[in-house]
Symmetry: D2
Subunit: 350 residues, 4 copies
C-alpha cells in the first residue's frame, strides 16, 4: 500500500513521516510542501537522514493528480480551509483521504460557519466524512473513503467522556474541560508568541471562552448523550514540546449521599471504562494511586485515563494525558489507516 | 530594623534573603540552617556573593534565644509542624514573627487535625495569629505580633475570589479552582519526583481531590461569604521554575439571560475588582485582550487577574497568575513586614 | 536626567525599559518602535503594567529630532546597520548616544566590511566611539559622547581574557572560546529556528567557524596583547531564556613543569584577577570548588569568573557566566550611562 | 533468546526495558531492583503499562543464580563498582554479560585505581572484556562473553576521533573535547543538584579538569593513535532530558598553508569518515550546512557527525550529537547484543 502526505512540513506532517517510514505495511510514496519542493526529506528533516527512503524521496508541489497517481491513501496535513480543496479531487480520482485538518469534522455547515467564520468550502462532502476516532467509530472508519481525523484537544476530552455519557452515568450539563497543551499544538509557524523565550517559564490561557475545537467536541458529545451538550473548555499553553493534560469536572447523574453510594458509583465508573476500553491497545486505564502524566505518553499513540470521586463536592474528576502530535493527530490518523486497510491496528504504532 | 530568617536554605528562605538584602529599611541580621550552620550566605548561595553582607553573614543553628537577641522580626521559613515550635518562644522573647509555614493559618485546631493528620502543636496561638494577606487584612497585620503568611495556591485563589464573594456577585457553591504550579512549589527537597528529568516535558495532577491548602482556602472563603464554602481544587505540576496560574470556574449569583444582562454583570465585576484593587500596588487588573501569564509576574510581588463571561454556559471564568515564591510566599511576607513596621508597602519589593 | 530608547521592543530594549523604569536618577522619557507606535508601554509589555510611567508612556516612531528634544541620553537598541543612521543626527543635536548594536564597536571600516559584508554607514564616527566595557575603559566612557556597548559573547570572553593578556600570563596564540547561549541572544524575531519546539531539548552549534562577534573580540584582544590575536570561537544555542557560559582554553606564557611551578602560576592568576577586579561591583571571582552557573547571574549585571589549571595538559581553563541581556547588553549599557553621567555605577543595577 | 536487566530502575535500565520490550528477537525475561522488588514493570513505569509483558514481569532482587537460570544475556545497569561483583558469577554460570557501568572499560587496573580511587574489584576479568563500541570493535564483540559498553561522553568523542587518529590525519597532541550533556546523564538519583529548579535555566561546567571518563577515552585514543594520547575534556550540564553535544578542537597533522591545501585536506577528511562510516546504520555524516543537533537524535541510536576547517586558525573542528541514554548507553548495549547473538544489528533499534 502506498501513502502520501500533503503538507508534510508542519509538526503533524513530520510525525506522519516518522510513523510511515517505519510502518511495516505502508510505503511512503510522496510528500508535498510548497516551501520545500525539490528538496529531499533527509535534507529538510536531518533526523530522518539514516532512512534510505528519506534520502531519495523529495518534496513536490501539492498536485492532486500527481498524488492520486502515486498513492492509495493520502493524508492531508494542511491548514484548516486549505485541506478541503484537496479532498474532492483526490476522492474523485479514487484515493482514500485522511484529513488531519478541521475541515470535515463537523456535520453541520452552519456550525462550521459559526466557529470558522466563513462558508464551508465543500459542504456536500460533510455527510460523507467519518469522524476518525477509532475507539468510538471503528466500524465506520473501516468503510470510509474520507476520514476526518479528530483534533488533539477533542481526543483528550472525548475518549474519557463518551463512555460516561453513553451510559448515562454523568449529567450532560455543566461539563468543564480544562486542558494544558505543549507548544507543538500551536504549529510550526514563525510567530513571536511561540518563540522559545516567550513560552519557556510561561503558563497562559488562550482562546477563552470559545475555542474552535468546541464545535467538534460538542457535536460528538451531543451524539453520545443524545441531547444537546454545551461545555466549558479552557485551553492553556505550557512549556512542553508535546502533550495534552485534560482535567474534566463532572456531575454524577445521580448524586451520591454517603460513602457506600460513592463506592457503588465508583464501581460503575470502573465497569464503564473497562467495558469501553479494556481491549483497546491505545487506552491506558490507570489504577490509583497513578495519575496521568504527559511524559508517560510522549511519542506514543496512548491516552492515559484516571478518575477520582470527591466526597466533599460530590463531583467526578476525570483526567487524561496524550501526545497531541501522536494520539492527538498523526498517530491516530495512522491508526485509522490501519483500520481502513485491514492492517493490524497497532502496525507502525508500537 | 533587624530581621532574621529561620530556615533560610529552602526556596522561600532563599527568596527572603534576596529581598531582605536589598531592602532599604531592614537589615538581615541572622539566617539559620541546620545543614549549613557555620557557612556564609555567599558560600551557600553564590548568587549573593557580590553583596558585602552575604560575605560575612553566616548560617547558625536555629536557636530562638539567639534569634530574639539579634532580630526584631523573625521570618519562619521552616517545614509545616516545625515552625510552630519556634513561634511561642520567639513571641515570648518579644519578637514579631512572620511564619511562612501552614502552622498558624487556620483558626480551628480540629480543621488543622483533619488536614494535617495530627494535633496542632500550639493551639493557643491560633487565635493570636493574623492571616497575612495584605490586600484583605492590612489593618490587622499592622497590629499583629504573629502573622501567618498565606500559601501560594491560596493567594492565587483568594485574591480573585474574596471581592466577588464579599459583594455577593457569585454563588458560594460549586466553585472550582484549577491551578498549575512551577516546581519551586515542591520545595528544595532531594526527591526523585522533582528531578529535572522527571519534571521536564511533564504535566501532571497531584493531591486530587483533597489537597492540604483547601483548609485555609475554605476558611478564608467562608469568612468572606459569611456561609460555609466548600470548593473543588485541582493542583498540577508543570515545568516552570516559578509561577502559579489559576483558572476559576464560577456561577453568577443571578444568572444572565441575554447579552445586555451579561454586559451589565460584566460592569459589576469590573467595578467590584476596581473597588477592591485599584489602588493596590501589587494587583494588576488586566484589560482584554490581555490574559495572565506567569512569565509576566516571575520574580515580582504582583498578581495578575483577568476574567471572562461565557454567554454559552453562563459562567464567569476568572484567571490569576503570580510567582509562587514571591507573591505566593516571601514577597508577601516582606509586604506584611512593611505594613507591620510602618514602612512603605513597596519597600524592597519594586 | 532623561533617557530614551530607540528600538524598545526587542529583548535588549525591553530590558532597558525594565532597568530605566526603576533607575533612581534617570527618567525614561521616550521609547520608539515602528511596530508599536501609539501604544503604551504597559499595553505592549503587560509586565510593566504596575508602573505609573509605563501606563502613560507611549511608543513613538523613531524620529531623531523628537528623541533629541526629549532626552539627554539615547540608547540605540536597533538592528545592526540601522543604529548607525541614528547616531550622527543624535550626536549633532547634542545627545549622548549609547549604541547596543555592533555598528560602532570596531575601529577599522575594513574589518567591518569583512565581517558585516557591506561598507560602514558612518565611518567617520568610528574613531569617536568608545568601546563601552566599563571594567576596561571606565575613564574613556566618562568622557564619551558615543558609546559602543559590547556584545554578549564578547563581554563573556573579554572580561576573563583582558587581564591575562595584559599581564602577559598567557600566550596570545591558540586561544579557544567555546560559548553556550540562551535563546534571547537570537533576538525577538519571528523565525522557525527559534520556536519553542525547535529549541527545547536542542543543543546545537552555529556560526562556526567565523561568527561576526569575532571582529570585536579580536580587535579588543589585539589591543590588550599589543600584538595581533586570532582566536577560535564556537557559539552554541541551548534551551535557556538568558545566559552565556563561556569556556576558554588557554596556554600559559611559560609552561609549568611540575606541581610547584603550577601552584606558583596559580598564584599569579589569582593576583592578576584580584588586581583587575577585586573592587569591581559586577565581577564575581569564584573560589574553588565553585564554578560559574548561568542561573546565579540571571537577571543581574554580574559576570562570574573561575579558572582551573590542568597538570595533565598544561592548560589554563577559564570559565565565565553572565546574563546575555543584562551584563551582555542592557545592564552594561546602563552601567556606562551611570559612568557617563557621574552616577554611582551600581545605580539601578542592584 | 532471553535477556535480563540487573538494575532496571535507573535511566539506562529503563531505556533497556523500552528497547527490549519491542525487540523482535529478544525476550525480556527478568528485571531486578532492590528498591522495587516484587512490583511489576507496569506499576513502577506506567509508560510501559500497555505492554502485556510489563504487566506480568516483576522486579526481583538481583540474584546472579536466578538471573543465570532465566536469561542467556544479562545487562548490568548497576552503579560503578557494583557491577563487577555480578559479572564473575554470571560468566561462571554461562551467561553472556553486557555491562553498562565503567567497571570493565579499562585494561589497566592501575588506571582504574587512579580514576576511581580504589582497587579494581575483579582485575582478572579486565583482559577478558571487550570494549563494546560496535563501529570500532564489531569482530571482537561477536565473540565476547563480557562486553564493557562505553560511556556516553566517550562514545560522542571516540566515534568522531578514532578514524582521524587511525589515518593519522590529525595530531594526537593537544586535543580538546568540550561536551554538553542533558540531565539524564546524572542518573536517577535523589540529589539537590539535579532538581528541576536547580537545572532549568542553568548551564554549568563540572568535573573539570579530570573527569573519570577521561580514563577510557584516552585508553581508546591511545590504542587508535598507537602512541600515548592525553586530552582536555570539559563536560557541562545543560537543561535537556537527553543528549550530548561534543565540540572537538583538533590540529591537522600537516598544517594547511592556503585555500587549496585546505580544500585538499577537507577531501581527505571526507574520505576518512566515508571509509569508516558510510555503511554504518547508526552514524549520520552531515553535509554542510547541516550541523549536529541533539533534538535530531533524541530517542534514537544515531550519532550525528559534522566538521569544519577554519582557515583563520588552521584548526579542524568536529562536532557530534547523540542521545546519551540510547547510543550513549542502552541502545549501544542492545546493538552489541545484536552482534553477539547474530541478529540484524538494527533489530529493535529503528
Amino acid at each position: 500500500m502506498k501513502a502520501a502526505i500533503a503538507g508534510a512540513s508542519g509538526y503533524s506532517g513530520e510525525e506522519l513521516v516518522r510513523l510511515l517510514l517505519r510502518h511495516p505495511r505502508a510505503e511512503l510514496a510522496a510528500v508535498t510542501s510548497r516551501q520545500y519542493a525539490g528538496q529531499s526529506l533527509a535534507r529538510v528533516f536531518p533526523k530522518f537522514g539514516n532512512d534510505p527512503r528519506a534520502k531519495t524521496l523529495c518534496f513536490t508541489e501539492p498536485d492532486p493528480e500527481l498524488l492520486a497517481k502515486t498513492a492509495d491513501v493520502v493524508f492531508l496535513a494542511l491548514p484548516h480551509g486549505v485541506a478541503a480543496g484537496y479532498a474532492a479531487p483526490l476522492l474523485h480520482l479514487g484515493c482514500q483521504v485522511i484529513d488531519l485538518s478541521a475541515d470535515f469534522r463537523l456535520k453541520s455547515p452552519a456550525r462550521y460557519k459559526e466557529f470558522y467564520g466563513k462558508d464551508h468550502p465543500a459542504p456536500d462532502l460533510l455527510s460523507k466524512a467519518v469522524y476518525g476516532l477509532p475507539e468510538a467509530r471503528r466500524a465506520e472508519i473501516k468503510n470510509a473513503s474520507l476520514i476526518a481525523s479528530p483534533g488533539c484537544y477533542p481526543t483528550s476530552i472525548l475518549l474519557p467522556l463518551l463512555p460516561l455519557l453513553k451510559t448515562g452515568l454523568i449529567q450532560s450539563a455543566g461539563i468543564i474541560a480544562d486542558s494544558l497543551s505543549g507548544l507543538s499544538g500551536a504549529g510550526r509557524k514563525a510567530e513571536l508568541d511561540y518563540l522559545f523565550v516567550e513560552c519557556n517559564e510561561s503558563a497562559r490561557p488562550y482562546g477563552i471562552p470559545k475555542h474552535r475545537h468546541l464545535s467538534e467536541i460538542e457535536e460528538q458529545l451531543t451524539l453520545a448523550a443524545d441531547r444537546p451538550v454545551v461545555i466549558q473548555f479552557s485551553p492553556h499553553l505550557i512549556p512542553l514540546n508535546r502533550g495534552i493534560l485534560t482535567t474534566l469536572y463532572l456531575a454524577p447523574a445521580k448524586p451520591f449521599q454517603n460513602e457506600s453510594q460513592m463506592a457503588a458509583f465508583g464501581d460503575q465508573i470502573t465497569r464503564c471504562f473497562q467495558a469501553a476500553y479494556a481491549g483497546e491497545p491505545f487506552v491506558r486505564l490507570l489504577e490509583a494511586p497513578a495519575l496521568p502524566d504527559t511524559k508517560n505518553v510522549a511519542g506514543t499513540n496512548v491516552i492515559e485515563i484516571a478518575w477520582r470521586l470527591d466526597p466533599r463536592t460530590g463531583r467526578l474528576i476525570v483526567l487524561s494525558a496524550l501526545d497531541n502530535i501522536t494520539k492527538g493527530a498523526s498517530g491516530q490518523a495512522v491508526q485509522s489507516m490501519n483500520i481502513l486497510r485491514g492492517f493490524a491496528e497497532t502496525d507502525g504504532l508500537c
